[in-house]
Subunit: 405 residues, 2 copies
């Protein structure tokens, strides 16, 4: 008789955003006339920029002609895309990354989940708390987290690193030594980040204790401050202890188009074995590449027009972030983030729990956000709003929140 992976049964509830979607859908069914403003899931709303659209069309035309038709893509992704990434995302910042250290994928969510395949089950993971749920949930599935402690709302074998207003959302080096450290800066969900000097401390720590850092830089395009690193590889020694996940979802609006990449330097080793070789094998065996037309479109993001156009989109979203941040702040709310990231992290008013505030806002204001506790126990009492909406709707949402609470 076949047996299932019992670790799945340890998962708590459904995936956070599926739960939110169900609640919103129930509300809209019951209130078909009410206008909902969605600042919950971090999904973009601006259309793909013209440079990307043009390249998608021309790539589709290539697929219509035998001479230019493309079948299976190269295992690591097309060289034209990996070269554009190496040049623009790294060389221009003084970081030397070889194109064979870049693995093109269908997105950072897949990569951040699938990367676990190359690690032993008996590694101890450390995560910020609150945190993007995929890091923990995929490790639960793999059996790395132990049982869930209902009283504390945590998995027993995971090292949680609290990030709250009290420590300025900068995690402290953990007391217990982890093997795998997940870091995401600029941070989802808090919208905050850490100075480069603070990130260097993490690299030094990982090198000292022999840990690997899985660095999620999906939001690097939103960085506005000079002392914040766009890549962990800007830190000295990082190539020997870190890998980096990147995405086209938030900088270029590819949430529904799917493209990302992971950088694994060849210096990153366990004994004689490079993690690069393991991921190459995983990539070649369990994945067949992102679509050619999407990889071509991804390369268009790096053209001068593409860069100019996505910067306009980012500026649009960051203006929304400012509207939320300043609007709520001037009304007396404690808000964080929104300077180097498209997320605003607010304290719930009147000491409400995160989910109570979620329900209250949905019912009373028709505004959807994300309950902080959905990201971990130290997210309790906080609430995430995203800047990815339409500016008019964002203004209205802020007014509704202020009016309602």
């Amino acid at each position: 008789m076949f047996r299932i992976n019992e670790n799945f049964l340890k998962l708590q509830g459904s995936y956070l955003f599926s739960t939110i979607a169900s609640k919103v859908s129930a509300y809209t069914e019951a209130n078909p006339d009410k206008k909902i403003i969605r600042l919950g899931i971090g999904d973009v709303t601006l259309p793909l920029c013209p440079a990307v659209i043009d390249r998608l069309h021309s790539a589709v035309d290539e697929m219509a002609v035998k001479e230019t038709f493309k079948g299976y893509s190269p295992d690591l992704g097309y060289e034209f895309l990996r070269k554009a990434i190496a040049d623009h995302d790294y060389k221009e910042r003084g970081v030397d990354i070889d194109i064979d250290e870049i693995f093109v994928s269908d997105g950072a969510k897949s990569d951040s989940g699938n990367i676990g395949d190359i690690f032993s089950v008996d590694n101890k993971i450390a995560v910020c708390d609150p945190v993007y749920p995929v890091y923990v949930d995929t490790n639960v599935m793999a059996g790395r987290t132990g049982e869930f402690d209902k009283d504390k709302g945590v998995f027993r074998d995971v090292i949680y690193m609290p990030c709250t207003a009290e420590n300025n959302f900068i995690p402290e080096l953990p007391k217990e030594t982890p093997d795998i450290i997940y870091l995401c800066f600029p941070n989802n969900p808090t919208g905050t980040t850490i100075p480069k000097a603070e990130l260097q401390k993490w690299v030094d720590y990982a090198l000292k204790v022999g840990a690997v850092i899985i660095y999620d830089a999906a939001y690097e395009a939103y960085i506005t401050e000079d002392d914040v690193a766009h890549s962990i590889f800007e830190c000295e020694g990082a190539k020997a202890c870190a890998m980096e996940l990147r995405s086209f979802s938030k900088n270029a609006g590819f949430t529904g188009t799917r493209l990302g990449f992971t950088v694994i330097p060849k210096e990153l080793k366990c004994g004689d074995v490079t993690l690069n070789s393991l991921w190459a094998r995983r990539h070649g065996t369990k994945f067949n590449g992102a679509p050619y037309i999407v990889q071509a479109a991804g390369a268009a993001v790096y053209t001068p027009e593409g860069q100019r156009q996505i910067k306009e989109q980012i500026a649009y979203y960051m203006n929304n972030a400012k509207i939320i941040r300043e609007g709520l702040k001037s009304a007396g709310y404690d808000t964080y983030g929104g300077v180097n990231a498209p997320y605003i992290w607010m304290k719930t008013p009147h000491g409400m729990s995160s989910w109570d505030f979620f329900d209250y806002l949905l019912q009373k204001a028709g505004v959807v956000g994300t309950p902080g506790s959905g990201f971990g126990p130290h997210g309790e009492g906080y609430f995430r709003l995203t800047a990815f909406g339409d500016t008019e709707n964002t203004k209205e949402a802020v007014e509704r929140i202020i009016r309602t609470c």
Copy 2:
């Protein structure tokens, strides 16, 4: 200190098709003037059909406008696509599949590898021998196969079910009881298939012993004979013991466009737990959907024009299959398959080993095929040729083989 997944170190050599690519690339570098004909990897060569191209263009246009722009797709895939699949691939064949039993993905290779996530490590797998390497390699990575036995060329804890000319390429029910059975019909690599009555025996067997069948039907569009099932769910009781993988790669030329789906009926359970719910959780947590434009294009495959156009492409490839099969047969070679599948499986001449014949054909005839032994020990002495090439090249390849051997 972090630890890697040591199971990866048990993998033998590199992924088969990566090895072939390296050999071919070395040959072409050394012989830049020689024309190579590639009948190795099962990659299509005809461009996407007009119905698909048109829908890709119109979907790209939707992504250019705020009102029709699409962000994250629904977890299981867009309903319009899942409904088209349920109607055309199942209802029309008398099989009732609910759209919530269909999970749209970026391809059957990813699904056939990732599906392992929902099963315990201590399941015993059974595979046909020869077999698509992904089934075994991904189970090696997961730790389900035990060590490799170099003398026998097999993993010690895997049940191999020989498929050779002697048993007409129909596997016998195994003596040792498996928990998970991988079946692929029409078969890759042998190009053969089994009558529906034979498939029913496997369903009955799985129900009896409590095994789950992972049924790979990626080549169902090539079936020409009436007594061959297009879906395992045509067999009685299959919904309680089987899941089915499907692909748009071979029927509609999506190898470089990436789209597939997996069907997991809600009747398929381990105790009280449905595999459908586990895969839904895996899908929602470690994957973010196939691109909207690709899902839209997939739905276009099911339109009357799409169906007519892909049937023409399939007929083109099957004519190639006939050219290879009959050409080699009339020259005295033992060939199999090619009637319900785009693969021809031939015995190597003069008792050559599969890899010797690969090297010989590449060097002497400039023809690339796939060595049978790359698919498993019982593939030794066989060689796979694909019908996905250009017809003129296919004719020339057959002539070159006959002339050379």
